[in-house]
Structure formats: C-alpha cells, structure tokens
Symmetry: C2
DNA sequence: TTCTGATAGTCAACAAAGTGAGTAGGTACG
DNA sequence: CGTACCTACTCACTTTGTTGACTATCAGAA
C-alpha cells in the first residue's frame, strides 16, 4: 500500500473528493508522489473498504454528485504506524535521464528539445510551488512558521520539491550548454 | 517498455550479464532508474526475444555460467528512436517524503531515525558517485572531458545524481534541525 | 569445520501501478 | 453556435514491481 499511504497523508489536509486528490497529486503532492485519477479512484475504494477513510456523497446542483473522503481514526492510526515502519528505498524513474544517458547514440536535436521542455516544466512547477509556499506562510516569516505552525510536514515536503525543481533547472541548463559547446 | 530502454542505455557501456546490470542498477544507473534483479532478468529475456539485445553464454571455470548481453543494431536503433520520442513526466515516489508530510500525526522519533538513515544513505551514495566521477574523468579536467570525451551521457546523468543526493543531505539536515528546535 | 557472503543465476505467483478510452453534464470564450 | 475545457467518475486491460523460494560454487573467517 504505497500509494495508499500517500493518499492518507494527503487527506490530512482535510476532506477531499477523488477529483480534488487528482489535482493535488498533480500539484502539491506531486513533490513526492504522482498518480493518475484512475489510480486514485481505485485506491480510494480500497481504503474505504479497509475502513481507513470514510466517504460521504455530496449532491450538487449544477455539477455531478461527488464523494468526499476523510480519514477515519483507523486511517490516522495506520498513517502513524506507517511513519514508524522502515521504508523502501526511493524509486527514481526519469525517462529524460535515460535519454541523456543514451544521448551519444541518439537524436541530439530531439534531446535538446526534450531538455528545453523539461526546463519549461520545471520553471512552471517551481512557480506553482512558490505560490503554494506563500499561501502556507500567509505572511509569516519562515523561521517563525517552522517553530510555531501546527502542521509543518507539508511545508517541509514543499521545500524538498522546490529544491528538486531548482536542481532540475540548473542541471538542464548545464546539459544544454554542454550540447551547445560540442 | 520503460525499464527496457533503461537497460538498453545501460548496455551502451558494453556487454553485461544480468548480475552486472543488477549491480549497475543499484549504483551508477540508480541515478535515474532502480530495478530488482528479477525485473532485470525478465526484461533481458523480453529484449532478447524482441531481438534488441543478443546474449551469449560464457562458461566459467570456478563460477556458474553466465549470459552476457549486448545491443544489437535493432536495439541501438530502438534506443535512438526512444530519444526522439516524447517522454512521460517523471514519477517521484519517496516514502520518506510521505512520512515527513504526515509527521505532525506520526511518530516523531521514528521519523527522526528515518531521516538519519536517509542522511547516511545519501552520504554513501554521494561518495560512491564521487568515485565513479573520478573514474570517468580519469585525471582529465571536467570542461575538457565534456568537450572531448566520446560519451558524455553517463557523466551528465551522474552529475544529476550527485546534485540529487547533495540536495537530499541538505534537506534532511534542515528537517532534523527543525525537529530539534520544536 | 561450519558458516557467511559473494558470484550468477532461475522460477512462480501475486500485488500494485499505469494506460487508454469512455460517459455525461456544465461553463466560458469568441 | 460551436468548441474546448472543467467537473466527476468508471471500466478494461497491460505492464511493473514484489515476495519468496531454489540451485550451485568458491573464498575467507570464526
């Protein structure tokens, strides 16, 4: 239940529908986990069947009905237990890196384009994260926030995501420069 | 064929057995892809069946026989085509980040330990990468290497891996300090 | 001498993750 | 008035990933 724990952690932010989570797993939660809507709906069904989350149907006037999910006490417990369990080593899977590894026999122009695409994506992500950060801080100073906010987990993971995208940007620039110089 | 392309790219380094690849996917290739030996053996069978790699059995005196695989022209072509194809967005999956996200309801001591473990792992990986880098450079200056070496892909991906581990170390330190201060 | 760890794999079964396509209404833009 | 995108979700299928065995040999340490 790897994705499951990520979903439980996301639900700490509060009640959410599958659709909400799909957006989150494409934005804020994407710092450390990505998942498609289909995966999320399936996982939500599983978690509900296991009693770790509870869903309630909200009828809407001008929109399809939705199911809002929230953590149950059992879900909270499961999440706490997870934090205490040993974790598997991270899995990194980046097709762009495979392409760069193979660049010497590949299509240089295509790789250059792929790098540029990644640069743009990283810059966009970083800008999004920056907005999220401002929203979390809500005017407070970072040190103050880290000392006194009730929940600092989301802020810390956000910092990791920002550093990651920053590194992406710098690395891609380096690659492009190297390609240009040869 | 996501893992497949990573294997093909790894085979650019030269002929390798499943066992060699298992080590590589735990060391140098781990910058951008991780896989278990079982996955690799399965993938090697598939790639061989598809004619993208060719295996030859090497009989050994004091060791079990092994199969050494190398790229076929078709494999090279496939790899080149892959570099030109659009790639899916990266997937990040890090259980430690999930734990940190949930730290406010989790077991703080356990998370602290997990962070410390990660710190040690990252330092080890970084040291390993540094050795790899020295080996690749073989005494040459980095700028010179990037301009004149035949293959620079492996060096560039290694740089990405090093930056990633460096960032891990700094982020983990930051988290530990924050935890200590609260 | 027994035991651990490294080399070099193989097999089977299952669980989890990911892809592609489809449904069905709503709103906003030009 | 069309069309494109947003909300909200479902089904079918394929690919990956995980677990836990099992087979062998050799080197070095306890």
């Amino acid at each position: 239940m790897a994705l499951g724990h990520a979903v439980l952690a996301a639900l700490l932010q509060g009640e959410a529908s599958g659709y909400d989570l799909a957006k989150a797993f494409n934005a804020s939660v994407a710092n450390f986990w990505v998942a498609t809507p289909q995966q999320l709906y399936r996982e939500l069904d599983r978690l509900e069947a296991d009693g770790l989350i509870a869903g309630r149907v909200v009828e809407q006037q001008r929109r399809p009905n939705k199911r809002l999910f929230s953590l149950t006490p059992a879900g909270l417990e499961e999440l706490a237990a997870f934090t205490a369990a040993p974790s598997r080593p991270t899995s990194i899977k980046d097709e762009l890196l495979v392409k760069v590894q193979a660049m010497d026999v590949g299509d240089t122009d295509a790789i250059r384009e792929a790098l540029q695409d990644r640069l743009a994506q990283a810059q966009e992500k970083l800008a999004g994260y920056e907005r999220l950060r401002e929203a979390l801080l809500a005017g407070r100073d970072e040190d103050d926030y880290l000392l006194h906010a009730q929940r600092i987990g989301p802020y810390l993971t956000l910092m990791r995501g920002m550093a990651f995208e920053q590194e992406n940007i710098e690395w891609v620039r380096r690659c492009l420069e190297t390609l240009a110089a040869r």
